[in-house]
Amino acid sequence: MPRPGFVLDVDRSTPPTLFWHGEGFRLERLPTGSRVIYPPEPLDALNDPDEAIRRALLEPLDSEPLPALLKPGMKLTIAFDDVSLPLPPMRQPDNRQRVIEAVLDMAAAAGVDDVQLIAALALHRRMTESELRHALGDRIYDAFEPHGLLTQHDAEDPAGMLHLGTTDEGEDVEINKRAAESDLLVYVNINLVAMDGGHKSVATGLASYKSLRHHHNVRTMQHSRSFMDQHRSELHSSNWRMGRHLKAAGVKIFQIETTLNTNTFPDQFAFLQKREWEWKARDRASFLAVSKSLGRTPPRLARRIFHSINAPHEMTSVQAGEVEAVHARTTENVYRQQLVEVSGQTDILTMGLPYICPYNVNSVMNPILVMCTGLGYFFNLYRNNPLVRPGGVLILSHPTPWEFDPVFHPSYIDFFEQVLAETTDPLEIEAKYEESFATDPWYIHLYRTGHAYHGVHPFYMWYWGAHALDHLGGVIIVGGDPAAVRRLGFKPASTMRDALEMATDVVGRDPSITHLHCPPLLMADVSV
């Protein structure tokens, strides 16, 4: 029986706490009285995921069974989540492979000839062949790719997008033309965190800059509290309006959502998902072996090693059918795995950031992504109230190297060197620079033909942290490149002790401290 999440009160006999630190770890002794929030243990997986998928397709929620929707001569499009999900990439077979194979089996049985697969990557980078093969499996890749039927969404292809009008609030709804014109659009999700899925799948994953800008902006993000909680998220409200508009415009969507347990790291890294005082000799030995050998490994190699980790994630649920009905059930399942009750906010929130975030799979986590992971994703892993009080301090632990992947993140480099050198204020950045980056033909060229994130993507990363920037009294990064940290507008500290000392300047003496022991992922349900 997996144990639920847990809030530890640190006392003098508490062993040091593990902090992620990019491609490495730190053991930090937190002051007595601090709290540490541990994620729930992995839920039991479905016994027979393939059977569960089949049942979900045959008995969908608020929808006819999938076979009844499949007719010979119809146009079927299957869209699927891109490389940003799940994290780390899961061991094969990936949920997408299992689900899409099941869908294709039914389509073949129904005699559907016109089938196209689309990687719903919005403004993310295009996936590489090996990434596609990993997500979909060789069977699907080899059957579709050679015929040009396995495509990647191209938001900058003027002939490939279709404008479907605007919502009641005047938001442009523009999505992939093939998807919009299909008789049935099947969207296959991996719902790693509570923000994934629902109407966001199609309305964001298959949309254009013109459409995305209505919710991917500073105002929306500042009013999404948090963007992990769809009922309090302006980001989701906008996507829901667009989703309903799509439905009204006649786009027929069959949504399939799958959830994973938090079994995130393979055996040799088992200590990462255990509580420190329960580390057995074996865990300590592997921790020591891993951290000592990492200390001697060149960063580039260490990165390669970490990015080769495939998570032993297992499927905990699958639901299919009408978008909103499906998503309600999915969200319950995500919460069942990830929610931890926490009472009261904290003056100082600490977190160790890992080597990976949704946008640097197989690449380096550059400073902008550090900001986005800490102030965007992790800060927003809450429901009801932020873990840290207004005006509190966030302490991140990450090496934050001044390093960028020129292939994946070309616009990030310019954003960092030109935009952030001028200002770190999200509103000013948005007003002054977003348009020119979004329309830069070079970035568009790299996005469409290479493997580059869209020119506007670093802006979204910054907006992702806008709510936190608004909320916090200060951000300190422990162990980061000081120049890069200052460029982000944060304060560098060399040790956790220094950082806590610096934080007292902002929050006062004897602050309350809470550490988010994550990943594996959790979501804090914070009552005040």
């Binding site: 310019d414 060197e417 030109q418 050198a421 060229h445």
Partner: protein, 382 residues
């Protein structure tokens, strides 16, 4: 009279060359420059006035001379021994404060009729700098007859003297000469997209001149040191980047610029190379637009660069040497409008000349821009 004198001495010249290569400004300790007592220069003729320097700047070309790095090209147009210093604000016998416009052109040399260039107003291109009744010397500060700013007395022709307006400080006035270089360069092109490489005195003056005298569409500066970056921004650069970020910044700033095999497909109309090194020139060629212009303000010397793109993209490279009299007059407004006195970061007495030169040679790293000798309290007229 106390003066820093540059003498012709081959061993010392060689030593300076070695020391200057090891450490910028190293030539000061072993080179042919030394502080000594000399007779004040005599007035060469009518129209000449004695000027007692108040402030005299140390210029990049002075440093190259001290370190033995300057080109042999100058050999026929300098005369030894000379007292360096051509950025001079001084005082006439009647107490009038003046800025010396140092170029020794036909007018100063008593050449009649004046050469074609002087006649057309391009006095900086004067063809007679080795002729006339003066010893050869392209400027005050390189001529044996006139003396130079790094001493207590020099002589200058009336045509060289520009009165300092009341209320203008010596520090502001000493910036007129370098600012005039910026003015001259800024007015050479009709472009609207600019990149300035280097943010020493010349670079910053160019930025200020471009901002004040033209209407730049975009003005990008590449600066190495934090203080330089700050000043570049204050003086009007739209975008300030590290030198190795220049290409990226230009690509961003100039709409439609793509990258093919690491080369920009387009670039800025005009690049001002205020460094004058091989790498700065190569970088200028990298970021200039097809048909654009590279203006060399820094003195390049002997360099080796690939000119294929210059040929293929029909790029013009042109020098920008000093200024015309018009430019010089305009510089008085510029130094005031842009408050260029803030570039004067250090004043030294003549006795501490070695430290002064080392400071000037290492100015960027030490957060300084212009180092000058302060001669206002010097006594020692013998």
């Amino acid at each position: 009279m106390k003066a820093l004198v540059f003498e012709r001495s081959l061993p010392r010249f060689a030593a300076a060359r070695v020391a200057g290569t090891l450490a910028p400004g190293g030539g000061a300790r072993v080179g042919p420059l030394r502080l000594t007592d000399v007779d004040p220069p005599e007035l060469p003729g009518p129209g000449w006035k004695r000027v007692r320097p108040r402030l005299a700047g140390i210029c990049g070309s002075d440093l190259a001379t001290v370190d033995g790095q300057s080109s042999r090209y100058f050999e026929p147009i300098v005369s030894f021994p000379f007292v360096p210093g051509h950025e001079v604000v001084g005082e006439l016998d009647d107490g009038t404060r003046v800025v010396v416009q140092p170029t020794l052109t036909c007018a100063a040399r008593g050449v009649e009729p004046v050469c074609a260039q002087c006649a057309s107003g391009n006095t900086n291109r004067c063809e007679r700098t080795a002729f006339g009744h003066l010893e050869p010397g392209l400027q005050t500060g390189y001529c044996a007859d006139t003396g130079g700013g790094w001493s207590l007395s020099l002589v200058a022709h009336e045509s060289q003297l520009y009165a300092v307006p009341d209320g203008m400080s010596d520090e502001t006035a000493v910036m007129v000469e370098p600012a005039a270089c910026g003015v001259h360069a800024a007015l050479l092109t009709a472009a609207s997209e600019f990149a300035v490489i280097g943010a020493g005195t010349l670079g910053l003056c160019t930025i200020a001149a471009l901002r004040t005298l033209t209407t730049p569409h975009v003005l990008i500066a590449a600066a190495k040191h934090p203080a330089q970056k700050q000043l570049a921004r204050e003086l009007g650069a739209d975008i300030v980047v590290e030198p190795d970020g220049l290409a990226r910044a230009v690509r961003r700033a100039v709409p439609g610029t793509m990258v093919a095999g690491g080369q920009l497909t387009s670039g800025v109309d005009a690049v001002f190379d205020c460094v004058g090194s091989e790498s700065s020139l190569a970088q200028a060629l990298e970021v200039v637009a097809p048909g654009g212009t590279i203006v060399l303000l820094g003195m390049p010397g002997r360099v080796s660069v690939d000119l294929t793109s210059l040929w293929h993209r029909e790029v013009s490279v042109r020098g920008a040497y000093t200024y015309t009299n018009d430019d010089f007059a305009k510089a008085f407004d510029l130094v005031q409008d842009a408050r260029l006195e803030r570039l004067v970061s250090g004043l030294y007495l003549l006795d501490r000349w070695k430290e002064a030169i080392e400071h000037a040679a290492d100015a960027g790293r030490r957060g300084a821009v212009k180092i000058a000798f302060d001669l206002r309290n010097e006594r020692g007229l013998s």
